[in-house]
């Protein structure tokens, strides 16, 4: 309960290009923090730095501090694999493992982490699927291929897969951008329920979505955090001209 992310002076590069120019941001415990901004502003890169996914891209580099509670995730000797196990991620496009069934998709993280006992796996898979509000829809089709589900179900399957390994933080990179409004509503509802138990950071292009689901919002522009604050205040009385221009749709 109550894990937070504290980012200090985060800079990130792709090759020679500096894409994050020193970001300080707090992802508050048991709340939803939305990251908004136009395409290419570095918001995806930002959350990919939090679970050390950024460095998996050839030529990518990071400097600065990312603290999970008080532990520096970029300290020497920290295993990025362990970091990713504690900080789950949901991607823009649903990406269930195509060769695995619904059950195996959710169990994948546990299995690969060494959980073998069948009863334990079944328990955890059901728990994760219930958590992701998908259990009732797939409980009779656990053996079907993960990619046979609808787009919205696939995305919730990916959320269940991330939840199954019991992460402290959940990062979501535009999780609804490929979904219709009904599927989007389901996921937003889910986010609302999930924040009771874990801490969520969500990147979104959709400002109404940011307003609906988050307590905190950060506005990124050209690799910098322009403004950060309580969502309600930010959308009613933005402090920066650029934020106002963006959320009123004048650019981006």
């Amino acid at each position: 309960m109550g894990d937070g992310i504290y980012v200090k002076g985060l800079r990130a590069w792709f090759g020679e290009t500096l894409v994050l120019k020193g970001v300080d941001l707090t992802v508050a415990p048991n709340a939803v923090t939305a990251i908004i901004g136009p395409s290419g502003c570095g918001k995806s890169t930002f959350i990919r730095c939090v679970n050390r996914m950024h460095e998996t891209v050839p030529g990518a580099r990071v400097s600065g501090q990312v603290l999970l509670n008080s532990e520096d995730l970029y300290a020497p000797g920290v295993d990025p694999v362990q970091v990713r196990r504690r900080i789950g991620m949901v991607f823009q496009k649903a990406n269930p493992f195509p060769t695995m069934s619904v059950f195996d998709n959710v169990a994948a993280g546990l299995r690969l982490a060494g959980v073998r006992r069948k009863s334990r796996l079944q328990e955890e898979v059901e728990r994760a699927l219930r958590h992701a509000a998908l259990w009732d829809e797939v409980k009779d089709d656990l053996d079907k291929s993960g990619v046979s589900l609808s787009g919205g179900q696939q995305q919730r399957l990916c959320i269940a897969r991330a939840l199954a390994v019991d992460p402290q933080i959940l990062l979501m990179d535009e999780p609804c951008s490929a979904l219709d409004p009904i599927a989007t509503a389901k996921i937003e509802e889910l986010i609302h329920d999930l924040k009771k138990e874990l801490t969520i950071a969500i990147v979104t292009h959709n400002m109404q979505q940011a307003a609906r689901v988050s307590e905190w919002t950060g506005f990124f522009l050209l690799g910098e955090l322009v403004e950060f604050g309580v969502t309600k205040e930010m959308f009613t009385t933005p402090g920066d001209k650029r934020t106002e221009d963006y959320i009123t749709g004048r650019f981006g």
């Binding site: 996914m53 990713r84 991620m89 990406n95 493992f97 060769t99 994948a108 993280g109």
Partner: protein, 279 residues
Amino acid sequence: MSPVGRRLVSTAVSGLTASAALLVVCPLLLIFGFLLYQGVSAINVDFFLHLPKPVGEPGGGVANAIMGSLIMIGLAVSIGLPVGILGGVYLAESRDRRLPWVLRFVADVMNGVPSIVFGIFAYTVVVLPMRRFSAIAGGFALGLILIPIVLRTSEEMVRLVPSALREAGLGLGLPEWKVSLRIVIPAARAGIITGVMVAVARIAGETAPLLFTALGNRFWHQGLDQPIAALPLQIYAYAIAPYDDWHRQAWAGALVLITLVFLASLAARLATRGRIVAR
């Protein structure tokens, strides 16, 4: 262009491409038909179950050669498959630039090397030190031919796996090697199996590399360190012999060989049917 003209052009182009496709399968059908015509009369139960008869005695079979071919293909696959597939994954996923480039180049050169060269190589490094022809030497030579084919097709297939799947695995907290082994390779499975079948079909018919290595044998095989029969060798031996009965058996042997390859490919296709390679 008028609608009629457009339809005419469309029909003409479709016809052209269809006949090109037909032209491609024509040789295969002709060869298969000719083999059936020449060889089917010599095929009977004995042909599959019995050893060759001594010269002059009619009948007999090539059971030992079928067995020998299967054993050496098995050896070749057990050497070449792990090396080829893992190497292919390395080529596709490595961030290094130079070594993969060199390996790719070497593999492409190896694909073009005449198979007899692999036979001579196996003769030098396996047959001479062991001081005898053997199934191991034959399997080794065939394995060397198999590796570059499997390597290159595996690489291509692994490349087709969307990076989103890799990220999904990494994001779950899996180490990179587990992502490759448990997620990427299974996702590329259908394509890799197809590549392996192509390679197996190729080595199943290789004769030259076996001349220096397996040598051939008219009896059941005596152990992996002994000379061993193989279908292509038997076909070769029968085809150049001056006996009509042997000629018939050579045709029949060729028919059996091509049928085995055909069935193996078909089985691989059926086994991987409907699997997704890439989305």
